[in-house]
């Protein structure tokens, strides 16, 4: 079935394929480790607030659960974006994933408004700076 011309290409392919999968696996491990790190710090901080300590086993379990929850979130986000005929996940998609709990919904709504107003402030600041520069240039005689 393989033609002789594609033979060489396939040899290269076979050499590349295991490494590509290893790279994917390594990438996933790095991400898991990053999640585990932040979860650990968060749990330690929350534990201190309540004078309780999280065992390594519990932190690992929370980290693993968080990692798996990301999979669920990601698949939902992708489906919502696709449904809206977009290839880029938007804030509206994120809001939808928070729909199951009213408290969570409201929290995410507030956060999205904070982000939007922070963006607006940034834009206003940039305009001011650009305006000042313009005036400076015209003043230089």
């Amino acid at each position: 079935m393989l033609s002789t011309t594609s033979c060489l290409a396939n040899v290269n392919c076979r050499e590349k394929m295991p490494t590509a999968m290893d790279e994917e696996e390594r990438k996933l491990q790095r991400l898991k480790a990053a999640v585990h790190y932040t979860v650990g710090r968060l749990c330690q901080s929350i534990g201190e607030d309540h004078q309780k300590e999280f065992s390594r086993q519990v932190i690992a379990a929370i980290a693993e659960t968080t990692f798996r929850q990301c999979d669920i979130f990601a698949k939902d986000l992708e489906a919502f974006a696709r449904h809206a005929k977009r290839s880029t996940v938007s804030v509206e998609d994120v809001k939808l994933t928070a729909r199951r709990s009213t408290a969570l919904s409201n929290f995410i709504q507030r956060k999205s408004e904070e982000i939007a107003s922070a963006n607006q402030e940034q834009r206003d600041t940039r305009k001011k700076i650009a305006g000042k520069r313009k005036n400076k240039d015209t003043e230089m005689v």
């Binding site: 749990c43 901080s45 880029t88 995410i108 956060k111 999205s112 982000i115």
Partner: protein, 81 residues
């Protein structure tokens, strides 16, 4: 660590790469604001997991936080998200 839990967040880059790794299509991307918002979602998720585990242990009059406490709150946690 004297950091408040509110200051400890997931890095935007981590969140972005994490979500991307689970997408089924290569062309799917995440907008910058969406990444920030998802970082908040994950932050809340971890906080809820941690705080509910603590409440469970306190309800059972336990000083140590054990895996059983987490396991007991896990179903409702997943349903709430």
């Amino acid at each position: 660590m004297a950091e408040s839990s509110a200051e400890i967040t997931f890095k935007n880059e981590t969140v972005s790469k994490l979500l991307s790794s689970f997408f089924k299509e290569e062309k799917t991307k995440v907008g910058a604001d969406a990444v920030i918002l998802m970082a908040e979602m994950l932050h809340v998720f971890v906080q809820e997991a941690a705080q509910r585990t603590i409440k469970q242990a306190e309800a059972e009059d336990c000083d140590r936080l054990d895996i059983e406490h987490f396991e007991k709150i896990l179903p409702q946690l997943l349903l709430d998200f």
